[in-house]
Structure formats: C-alpha cells, structure tokens
C-alpha cells in the first residue's frame, strides 16, 4: 500500500490531467458522432449548440426550465426543475470543482492557448490583488442575471413588462462556448450577428465581442474565462459538500508562495490562508497544480470521501521540478516508519 501511495505522490499529475482533458474534450465535443451523451445536466460546458455535443451543459437546462410562469413551478414542471437540479448536484459532488480543472472543454482550450503562448515566450498577465478582488464579483452577477431573466421573460416582475422572447437562454447567447465548441467541430454557423431585432443585435454583437475577449484573454492570462464563469459560481454553492476535497494543514505551511505562483487563476488566498482546512476558494478549479508545487510533506492533500488520494511531498516536488539526468543522484527516499 505504501509503495502505491509513494508512486502516486511522486507522479506528474499535470501530465495525467492533460490526458484526462484531451479524453473528455473528445467525448464532450465530438461525442455526438458516436451518439455518446453523458447526461443532459453536466456541471461543465458541453454546448448543445454544437450538434455533435457529447452531453448538455446544465446552464441551458436551468434557463429553459425557469422560463415558465410561477404557477408552472407547482405542477410537474417544478418537479422536473428539482430533479434536474438534483442530478446536477449529484454529478457535481463526485468530482467537486475539478469538473472545471479536468473536464471542461472550454478550460482545455484555454490551457492549450496558454501552451501556445508559452511557445512564443510571451509573458503571462496576472491580476494584482485589488483588481482580483473587484473582478471576482462578476461571475455572481452573471449567475443571478442568468437565473432572473428567464423568470422575467414569462412573469412580469412588479408590473414591469415581460422581457422579450429574443432573450431566451440569455447566458447561452453570450457564452463563448456557443461559438467556440461548434467551431471545434468545424461548424462555424454560430458566428453571426442577428439583425432581426435590436435585442438580438445587441446580444449577438456582445457574444462576438466576448468570443474575441475569450481568445485574447486566455492567450495572455491563464484560465482567463474561468474567472468570470457563472458555472463556477453555481458550483461553489455546493463545493462544501463535495466528495473530492482539497485540504490544507495550516501549520505545516511555510508560506513560501509556490502554490499561489503556479495557480493558473492566480488565487493568493491559498498561500495566505493558514486557518481553515477546506481551502477551495470560489474561483479554484481544483487542478491540483498547487499540491504538485508544494514542497512540504502533507501540507496540501487531495481527499476523496475522507481518503487521501494525492498529497504534497518534498520527494514528489523534487521529482517533478528537478532534472537528474546528467547527475548520478536519484531522488528517492527509503520508506521510513514515520511516513
């Protein structure tokens, strides 16, 4: 058992993650060719606008389901809304936020863009503390709008006129996944400006601007979009009850800052926060790069239902970061009793 544990702790998790990302990218974006469909309520992006999608993102579901009168929620429609939400939570709990880190195709595209930038040696951008704090709120505003607008379309709030039908599935119209994922299968029909009414003109132009922002942003800033994504905001409401957990032992931390430096999203709180154990912050995507980069034994641990499946060890750290090919030293530690 200890041998397996040691092998896992020394393993190169980033390699493993990029393999998983590729696999799920194929499943979620090209699943339709083989009629694979994971489920209609996945807690990650798998855009139904992409005809060949291998599953459907839950956001479009919830927007359609909320597009009904108040009375509707008491009838069978309310039950279907509830069951949809429960399946979403059920799926989400298993992998917690690592749906974003390991599976989301949009995230995978952003990681590839980062690798591209790295090739050209362009410097990455990083938010300083103040802008990080202020930009953090956007994804919650988007989530609230995403839930309120469909309701506003079918019921009039405080006597105001109902929102026009053109705004159906408001977030999906603006979401970069609608344009990017179908493009990945070669279908560029989603790149259009719809002139049929002023609302559609505004919405589709915004969508195009957001797509441009998506490409430029994630080329320069690692995981640019994930910072504004309402799915991560929706997920965070249930992150605390997830089975997969990232736990930090505060007093083992030497606050060396490695974890916040390698964090793609640039979360500083993981290095500064020494108090609470459950260290997943709201924009964390649980890609576990921080656990790989932590040189302290047992400081950062990945637990699945209480069982530690991956933890930070100094041996693992040196195995991952140093090269020993032209030295006659090997990095391995005899299994000592107090491990």
């Amino acid at each position: 058992m200890k041998k397996i544990r040691k092998y896992i702790d020394n393993s190169n998790l980033s390699l493993f993650r990029s393999i998983i990302q590729i696999i799920f990218f194929i499943i979620l974006v090209y699943g339709g060719f083989k009629a694979i469909s994971i489920s209609e309520k996945i807690p990650t992006f798998a855009c139904p606008y992409n005809v060949r999608t291998g599953g459907t993102c839950y956001l479009i579901n919830i927007q359609h389901q909320l597009h009904s009168e108040w009375a509707g929620f008491i009838t069978w429609r309310g039950i279907s809304v509830l069951t949809a939400l429960l399946t979403f939570i059920g799926l989400f709990i298993i992998l917690n936020k690592s749906w974003c880190g390991f599976i989301c195709p949009l995230g995978t595209i952003q990681d590839w863009l980062t690798k591209l930038r790295r090739l050209f040696g362009v410097r990455f951008s990083r938010y300083n503390k103040t802008s990080f704090k202020s930009l953090k709120v956007i994804k919650y505003i988007v989530l609230i709008l995403l839930l309120v607008i469909p309701l506003g379309m079918s019921n009039s709030f405080f006597g105001l006129p109902k929102i026009t039908e053109d705004m159906s599935a408001p977030y999906c119209q603006l979401c970069p996944a609608r344009t990017v994922l179908p493009a990945a299968t070669g279908d560029f029909t989603q790149f259009y400006i719809d002139f049929s009414s002023t609302t559609t003109i505004i919405m589709t132009t915004l969508a195009m601007i957001i797509t441009a922002l998506f490409f430029v942003g994630s080329f320069l800033k690692k995981r640019f979009f994930c910072f504004f994504c309402p799915m991560s905001a929706l997920q965070f409401l249930f992150a605390k009850i997830g089975l997969l957990r990232l736990v930090k032992v505060g007093n083992k931390c030497t606050s060396c800052g490695n974890c916040s430096r390698v964090c793609d999203i640039g979360i500083n709180a993981i290095a500064d926060d020494l108090e609470n154990k459950f260290i997943v912050k709201d924009d964390c995507m649980m890609c576990f790069k921080c656990v790989e980069a932590c040189p302290e034994n047992n400081c950062l641990k990945v637990k699945f239902t209480g069982l530690t499946i991956f933890r930070s060890t100094d041996e693992g750290f040196f195995k991952r970061f140093s090269k020993t090919k032209d030295y006659n030293i090997t990095i391995d530690r005899k299994l000592s009793k107090n491990d």
């Binding site: 259009y192 009414s197 601007i209 490409f215 430029v216 942003g217």
Partner: protein, 325 residues
C-alpha cells in the same frame, strides 16, 4: 362550317370545365378556415392542433380541401368526402382505415401524437372521365416528437415510409443530408427533393409542380431516378422590427403521371390511368435574411484589435520592470 366550329368550342369548354372540375387538386390542408380559427389551438411552430375535448386530448388535424391555389382553399364538405377513402399510418407501419370526423372546424382528419416519427395520412379519390381513370391521392406527413423522449437514433425514425400495395402512386420528400433531425425546419433558399413512386418503383417523366401560398409555381419532370429537386423561394420581406424569425409559409407539391394500360385486359372501361399525388409542407424564411456572418467577423476582428491594444498598454508598466530580463 360555323356549326362544326361551334360544337368543337363547346366540347373544349365542357372538357375544360370538366378538366377544371375534375382537375381541381385535392389535398390535405394543414391550416383551418379563417372563421373556425378559435376552435383550434396553435403551437409555437404554427402547427395546428385540435382542442382537447370530444375526441380526447390534443390531436393533429388536417382538413381535406380542393383548389389549385393555396390562398382560396375550398374545404370539402360532407358530400364530396363520402366517396373518398382515408388511410392513416403510424411510424411503425400500423395501418388503420380511417373515417373523417365532423369537428367544429369542419370535416377533418384527427389523429393522436402517438409514436415518435412521421405519421402518414392519405385520402384517395377516383374519377372516371372518358377513357381515363383519374386517381387523386392526397398525402400528408406529420412529425410527432417530444424532446422529453430523448433524441436517440433519430435518422432511423424519420425515414420516409411508403405503402405500395395500398397506395399505388406516391411521392416522398427525401430527408436532408446530413443531420436532419426532429427539429429540422425547411428554410427558403434550401433545396428540397421529391421522389415519385408508382407501386414502389421510381417513375421517370412524371410532372412535379411546386406551388407556394404566394401562387408561385414551378414544374419539373422527374429524371430517371424519379426525383425532382426544387429550390424553396424566399418570399417574406418584413419591414425592420416586424421580422418573425419563424414565420411559417406553406407549399404544395403535386405530381401527375398518366399510365397507358396495355390492350390485353380490355374488359376495363378505360385505357389510361392518370395518377395525381399532393403533398403539403411548411417552410420558414432563411436565416441569411437576418443573420450575417460577415458582420460577425468584422466585430470579432475589431474587438480583438481594441482589446489587444488596451492589454498591451496596461502591461507596458509591468513590462518596464521585467523588460531587462
């Protein structure tokens, strides 16, 4: 001399009127008369359903009608309908001899949503004039689908079905390749192909005319594969702001083919059989009417430029520190 001329004239008028009378096309009209609209429920995609009531819950509805143009439609009443035969086939080929129901909105074909896929409804009338037997077949395909039932192996379920032994002469709409699915909507500007079949075999040389509700029509002779392809015209020009993306307009396709009987079985009173088959359908304005990818590309390129400039300026301050690396 004048007398003979006069006789010939009245014969042609008579035959014309006969022709006209005989040759008014019969078809199953998917839209009701104006004055009965309130008895009928309309769905998001302008598909008409019978109100739930005497005949159980919501049902598809088709009104047998006559008339060459789609605008002045002469709905058949009880008299003419008596002689015709009605057939109804569900997607898994269950056959049911059908009789019309007299609903508030007139004599109509009513049938359940039932199974996923296309339900076929047929009306057959036979007329004998001189030595030709006119067999008028009006066909209608109605899709029944609920998203809740999922979208599994859609291609198989939407294949056009034919019944050669019961319906001698038929016409099918070939499914759009690739990827036609339940949510397929024929857009003006797209091509649609019809195949004419006589007792299951493709018919070469049949006349297929395609008419829209703006009385635009076009006739094509089927080739040796029995198919005729039309390009759906775009005839919807709304002013700014009133564009309804999903405005449904109807089309009617009529195929006509006369077969000469061989002289052997002389006992029949006629030498020629003239088959005609009608097939109604809907189409919506083409997306290119209001969607332009050209502008999308422009917006993207412009915003990429603007964003990059903004980002480069905001990064220059940090670059100064790290520039000496």
């Amino acid at each position: 001399m004048i007398k003979s001329f006069f006789i010939v004239l009245c014969i042609t008028i008579f035959s014309l009127s006969l022709e006209a009378q005989v040759f008014q096309t019969e078809w199953l009209c998917p839209y009701p008369q104006q004055h009965v609209k309130q008895h009928v429920k309309i769905s998001g995609m302008q598909k008409y359903y019978a109100m739930p009531g005497k005949y159980g819950k919501e049902k598809f509805i088709l009104w047998p009608a006559k008339g060459n143009s789609l605008t002045e439609v002469e709905y058949m009443d009880s008299l003419t309908v008596k002689k015709s035969q009605f057939y109804l086939f569900s997607p898994d080929r269950e056959y049911e001899k059908y009789s019309l129901k007299n609903t508030k909105s007139g004599y109509a074909f009513l049938y359940d949503f039932g199974k996923e896929g296309y339900h076929n409804a047929y009306m057959i009338n036979k007329y004998l004039i001189h030595d030709t037997l006119f067999i008028m077949i009006s066909k209608a395909e109605r899709l029944s689908h609920k998203c809740r039932n999922g979208h599994k192996d859609v291609q198989k379920k939407i294949e056009p079905l034919i019944y050669p032994n019961l319906i001698p002469f038929e016409m099918i709409r070939l499914r759009m390749k690739p990827g036609e699915n339940y949510h397929f909507l024929l857009e003006s500007g797209n091509h649609v192909t019809f195949k004419v079949l006589h007792r299951g075999k493709e018919v070469k040389g049949a006349e297929v005319t395609f008419t829209t509700n703006k009385d635009w029509h076009k006739t094509i002779i089927t080739n040796k594969k029995g198919t005729a392809t039309f390009q759906v015209p775009s005839d919807y020009f709304p002013s700014m702001g009133e564009l309804k993306q999903k405005k449904v307009s109807y089309y009617l396709v009529k195929a006509k083919f006369t077969v000469a009987l061989d002289s052997k079985d002389t006992n029949s009173q006629f030498k020629y059989i003239c088959y005609t088959c009608t097939y109604p359908g809907e189409y919506i304005p083409s997306q290119s009417l209001y969607k332009s990818s050209f502008w999308a590309v422009i917006v993207i390129v412009v915003s990429v430029l603007i964003i990059s400039i903004i980002v480069i300026i905001s990064r220059s301050e940090k670059n100064k520190i790290l520039s000496r690396l």
